[in-house]
Amino acid sequence: MVNKQIGSAAEAVADIPDGATVMMGGFGRAGQPVELIDALLEHGAKDLVVVNNNAGNGTTGLAALIGAGQVRKMICSFPRQKDSQIFDERYLAGDIELEVVPQGNLAERIRAAGAGVGAFFTPTGYGTMLAEGKETRHIDGRDYVLEYPIKADFALIKALKSDRWGNLVYRKTARNFGPIMAAAATTAIAQVDDVVPLGELDPEAVITPGIYVDRVLELPRNAPAADNIAATATAGSGSTAATAGSAATAGKAL
């Protein structure tokens, strides 16, 4: 029987090795797998290549990971923000590599990795410094740049609900990079608010079929007050919060 549910955030990321390429979903807070990123921080894997739309905000999550010196290279579209000071500092000190990719090329390169496309010609960026040194071609009246897939060893994403097969549904604009990152990574790990019994998700509305998902971690968002306190108290460790989450659903027939 297939059951992709895993008990804790710590367990979910335990086998991410030094040097891994890790995709992280999210656009702003929406869809950000906060607890999984925190677990990766605690896990301590180093020399990581991280793929995300940004390069961390404030002092938590990806920013903390960069601050801890665990990230060798960022691949993203928009590193510089009001509160990206940790990345900015590291970057200007020459401590971290940066590959800036136009957001749509970033998304399409991630999609290409999942879809087995070897490379593709995109009009985005043609003639700009982000296409310098890249192969170009004039096709049917338009100029294009050749871009290659971005694959990952792991993807950390967030969705609304899952079943034990790993089928995922998302919520509003929190969907963003989740589906394409799940497909582009060898091992995709999804944190979800709720793991529901098989058959409860509408087959027409499943956005990420379970084939792309390897591990599912349930972390109830709207848990009763007591659970919320537990989850907040353990933010940063991840594993205890996750245990609380699993306990909350232990009685469910999956």
Partner: protein, 215 residues
Amino acid sequence: MKLSRNEIAERLAADFPDGAIVNLGIGLPTLAADYLPEDREIILHTENGMLGMGRAAAEDEIDEDLINAGKIPVTEPAGASYFHHADSFAMMRGGHIDYCVLGGYQVSVTGDLANWHTGAADAIPAVGGAMDLAIGAKHVYVMMNLFTKNGDCKIVEQCTYPLTGIGTVERVYTDMALFEIVDGQLRVLEIFADMDLAALQEAMGVQLLDGLVAA
């Protein structure tokens, strides 16, 4: 007399026809959302995966899963739909968005756009979706002040800042005038400032064609 930021936004918003699908870039262009004509249905696209995006969320409507490209909470009106990032940018790149409005550092007289990088040696480059929008929409409009605080005209013969897109800008809505670029030629459609075409041309230092409609 110059237009305020809000007045530029209002002037711009008046040009979207009923049913137009519009992407408003982060920053200044987002202001246009407040002036969409009420008698027309304008459908907003946001790069982070939503079509039919609503207005900014009121305090009690804020939902962290429902934000626009500027990461500002928005609402979900009837007719909305969600999609992932690759599908969202396929929508742009594939030429399905009718209008996009971008901010600008510089626009060249042939429609090149520079709006993502000052070129300064110590600047951290960050492009976001600007290049995708610049090449993707059917009509690319720029909204900006015509002159920098230092008095440099932002419509130039050739951009000196790193480019976002080549030959892509169709209209430039500024505080002083409205411009159109067709076949690599810059034309003034309206002057808001208290000056005539000759004075505007002299202030800008670029060749202007007369596209003014007699009042």
